[in-house]
Symmetry: C2
Subunit: 195 residues, 2 copies
DNA sequence: GTCTATAGATCGATAGAC
DNA sequence: GTCTATCGATCTATAGAC
């Protein structure tokens, strides 16, 4: 029953988003044309507009979905009460969640400037919420005497930057497993904020 | 003797690069047109081609110049022999050099994918050289017992990512001086790699 | 829901006058 | 060294057939 035309049982939408995610990450939002995305999916450019009102919405939806997924996954994670153990959980969570979604992470950071002002504010608020989650752990640990940091806000930014940096060098099938990378970074994070 | 046309005493070239740097950082290479750059400088688009063979060369020259300047500045810096002091020097150097050139740093990282293969290799080699400089400090310190890190290569990548992250949140005239930021990050770096 | 066709705008780069 | 003018290509988005 193969059809070369017509309905695709509702799979075209996800395939468009998947193609856009990959192409935006590889070449950048501005450098990717709607025709390229359509070609990757196997439809004509006009068909994309059955699924998105315009290119900007396509970008925003990808970023919004990624940030919402990140926040939801962290919220759903079972977290130890102890600040030290909670910081380790955050470290390993951040590395593994981001490594498994390298394209989305890249886009969520690189394409902020291509969002309209309204869309930018929405994404920034979600990013801020995630940073706040880490800062809360640090604040708890400082209050309890487990951690000593010069400034909890800056320490949170520093830890996130350090951990997200894994995405720039890690390659699947390299010399280190994801778990080993987590252990290596946890060692550095733990010492960096230690009392 | 004001002239609205004709030679501008050799200042047009630098002004073109300055305008391109600013616009590429704000909107991204692919999103900026040669006409936009020309308009920022106050010339017509055709005039740009007296200074660059094409748009790609304009981008590459900006990135190459930035990386060469970074390497030259680090090489010229007077560096203590002691690994701990040398790591502090690197930390403060990296933060201040990069903060003072935020646009170029942003471009050198974000626009790598818009380089031709040959140009990409050239920039990557320079970046690698810079990473090696930091790794050498860590290796020395580990050998001397001053530092303990799980992996000198990864530690170098982690420190650079953490330090470069300052550019995402630091704003001139904010609550912290550049020197205070350096001290805060040095505290975290020092502890992260401490024996 | 996808197609073809196209409107209307903009792009990088070049040619030739001054 | 800069201008005006333009070529040929490409872009987003829409209209209307099927």
């Amino acid at each position: 029953m193969a059809r070369t035309q017509g309905s695709h049982s509702g799979v075209t939408g996800p395939r468009i988003r998947s193609a856009a995610l990959k192409l935006f990450a590889q070449q950048g939002y501005a450098a990717v044309s709607m025709r390229q995305i359509a070609s990757e999916v196997g439809v004509q450019a006009g068909a994309l507009y059955n699924y998105t009102p315009d290119k900007q919405s396509l970008l925003f939806d990808l970023m919004e979905e990624h940030m919402a997924g990140l926040l939801a996954a962290w919220a759903a994670l079972e977290k130890p009460a102890d600040p030290l153990a909670r910081l380790e959980a955050f470290t390993r969570f951040h590395i593994s969640y981001n490594l498994e979604r390298a394209d989305a992470v890249f886009i969520a950071y690189m394409e902020l400037r291509n969002l309209t002002a309204k869309n930018f504010d929405a994404i920034e608020a979600m990013r801020r919420q995630y940073e706040d989650a880490l800062e809360a752990i640090l604040t708890d640990g400082v209050a309890g005497g487990t951690f000593t940091v010069p400034d909890t806000r800056i320490a949170a930014m520093a830890v996130i930057a350090m951990l997200t940096g894994v995405n720039t060098w890690y390659r699947e099938g390299g010399r280190l497993s994801l778990d080993e990378v987590g252990t290596i970074y946890w060692d550095m994070v733990r010492k960096a904020v230690a009392a």
